[in-house]
Point group: C2
Amino acid sequence: MEFDGVHDMAEPEIEALTFDVFGTVVDWRNGIAKEAENILAAEGHHVDGQAFALAWRARYQPSMEEVRARRRPFVRLDVLHRENLLDVFREFEIDGVSDDTTDQLNRAWHRLPAWPDVTKGLARLKQRFIIAPLSNGNVSLMVNLAKHEGLGWDVILGAEIAEAYKPEPEAYKRAAALLDLHPSRCLMVAAHNSDLVAAAATGMKTAFVPRIDEYGAHQKADFAAEHDFDIIADDFEDLAHKLGV
Amino acid sequence: MEFDGVHDMAEPEIEALTFDVFGTVVDWRNGIAKEAENILAAEGHHVDGQAFALAWRARYQPSMEEVRARRRPFVRLDVLHRENLLDVFREFEIDGVSDDTTDQLNRAWHRLPAWPDVTKGLARLKQRFIIAPLSNGNVSLMVNLAKHEGLGWDVILGAEIAEAYKPEPEAYKRAAALLDLHPSRCLMVAAHNSDLVAAAATGMKTAFVPRIDEYGAHQKADFAAEHDFDIIADDFEDLAHKLGV
């Protein structure tokens, strides 16, 4: 589906692109799997990195739900990740990991690899648009990821800035407000249908980019766009092409 | 004064550099003077751009003081700038400027020129450090300035994110908190003694970079560092040198 809104005078012009990050920009599964194996092996614990990564990620939504449901005040994702990591240690019957090693492994989320099309695609998109992560990851995590993978974000937006985890509307609304843009001038880019549905509900435009290997053999959803999003692109380079960059 | 904290094990290592922007990074006086003359001339108003710029800037601190003193809720600097601009029109007896032209002139703050050493100096500093504006300017203003002048900020921090105008401690503290850094790992860079004194009070390290032409012939202060700051540099390239980059 070709996006013609940018050149159609009846449609507001897109000025900013906001991106989901975990799964959409970076391959958390292979990144975490490798780091978990290496870091824990150094302390004599041998784990199946893929299973470890999936178990850690399985605790992601439930931990944020505690904040969304107001059962606890907002805390940054690094804090949730670390609590969840201790749970995964228990599940995998891994005992006696030092605090330093736990911290080091928790920071693996700050060093995840980008999908192959990302760095080049973002560089093209940045020429015409404001580009920003709109992630549930905290600001320092986003800054470190960007330094690690050469992502040229113009500004870091997202959950910690809004003190609200996606898909809460406030996460998207605060991003558009900080850019001083009507939401319709912002294009949310994600590999997850639910993220885009929530963004669209706040008035944002939407672009779906499938990442069908995000969960590997365990992928159960998000093989394709399930709603009438404004753009569907194969990857970030295709997104740049479809936006005329 | 050479800064040796970075290599001294007794001192915390600097990880992030935060920058004042108006005066320190960009030359607001000449930028505003030129835009005011050009934009108002197109509507038949002929003004002394330098006098106009100084009159507009003279209203900057008093307007933020209304927010600091809790006499009004936080509003972004674009809003204060526009209110102040209408005051300057009255002072200069300029009538009948359209809303569109007023908006266009107000956005001149988003298009200011960087001092000559800035873009190259920041590119060097970015190789080793996180670099971020910590300005009273709002996020969209900072994003647009960066796009305009090729400033490679890693993240936009500052008053709007903190909902507190410098020199309120919260503006500095929120920046360090979002970076997940102890303030002593952040180096505040500014051409204004008062900004650095406030930053130091929150535990930040400090670097003074003089901009003795900020106010032209009307410069009354900030010709030199008046306190024991951690670094004093001639410009951003010298700052990079003194930080060993």
